[in-house]
């Protein structure tokens, strides 16, 4: 089975570089805001997981998540919110909007890898 494809959505170039290093065994697709992410999702129909920041220009993470859950083609793709917004209320909002998991920045690399491995193996 080919490795699962992951879409990384974050406006930080530093984070994209980190994910590239951390998740070398996975093919990554990159987007820097919500709107670009929707374009990438339309182009790459085999995305298995989305790592999503909350605060981004043009379309933020929560808006993208809601758009994905409203779209029949994308609603089953698991989304991990990776964000500095760490309050319980914000976590709850993200999970209610349909996020599969929530990772707070700054995170330990092994913590994120564990979440990715769990969700990509579930998707298999």
């Amino acid at each position: 089975m080919p490795p699962r494809k992951i879409l990384v959505v974050d406006d930080s170039k530093l984070l994209h570089r980190m994910f590239e290093m951390m998740l070398r065994q996975y093919p990554l697709v990159h987007a820097y805001d919500g709107k670009e992410a929707l374009e990438r999702l339309a182009e790459s129909k085999d995305v298995d997981l989305v790592l999503l920041d909350m605060n981004m220009p043009r379309m933020n993470g929560l808006e993208l998540l809601e758009a994905m859950k409203a779209d029949e083609r994308m609603k089953r793709i698991p989304v991990v919110l990776v964000t500095t917004e760490g309050s319980d209320e914000q976590t709850q909002r993200g999970l209610e909007a349909g996020a599969a998991a929530y990772v707070k920045k700054p995170f330990r690399n092994e913590e994120l890898i564990a979440v990715v491995q769990r969700l990509t193996s579930n998707a298999a």
Partner: protein, 249 residues
Amino acid sequence: MTARAPKQQVDEQPPRRADALAELQATLARAGELLHSLEQSSRKVPSGSVNDLEDRLNDVVQDRDELSRRLAEYEQQTGRLMNLYVATYQLHATLDPEEVQSTIAEIATNLLGAERFALLFWKGDGSECEIALGHGLKDDPTGFYRGGHYAGGDPAVDATLTDGVLRIGPLEESDAVAVVPLTVQGAVVGALVVLKLYEHKAMLRPDDRELLDLLAAHAASALFAARVYHQTDRKLRTLESLIQLVKRG
């Protein structure tokens, strides 16, 4: 198991036969003891082997646990080194001053967990510092970081801006979580002041020290190089425009 000759028979035998019988009885008694000890030792061998196997199994389990612990440590260390590598790489990946500043902010926010921070640079006349970059400063209760400049007031920040020493909180008479000196060729050109961490990050961890050291060593030089390049590039373009004008004239 011992063999006993009937006592009645011994009493009835002549003396020589009685001696032989006594000797035989003694031999039989010794044989019985030997047999008994053999039985004992034959019982001990398997139980000793089981104990030995259990000991070895315990050793193997301990070795496995130790290896798992070390593997987890190495993974954490690899993660830390990777973060440091990526941070350094990104700081020096561009010659655009705004992008370098943005990278410093991303390191502070995403890797350190800083919710409120200020990037200070000494002004040319050395009277005060400009705030080159700030995050969450409108909520700062100290009032030191207003109007795009820092004129002094926080003892820890003032000390670092003078002596170039990295300070990590808790700090006396200062609310700063950390004050990171920014130096270029040994001269202090500014400081990164971390004023507040995100709620879910209670305090700086020991491994954050490496990241703060990295910022102290690389952030200023990366930004300084980008600013010099930017200024030189602008001058070059001006000169090229002048040359074009002269050529046309």
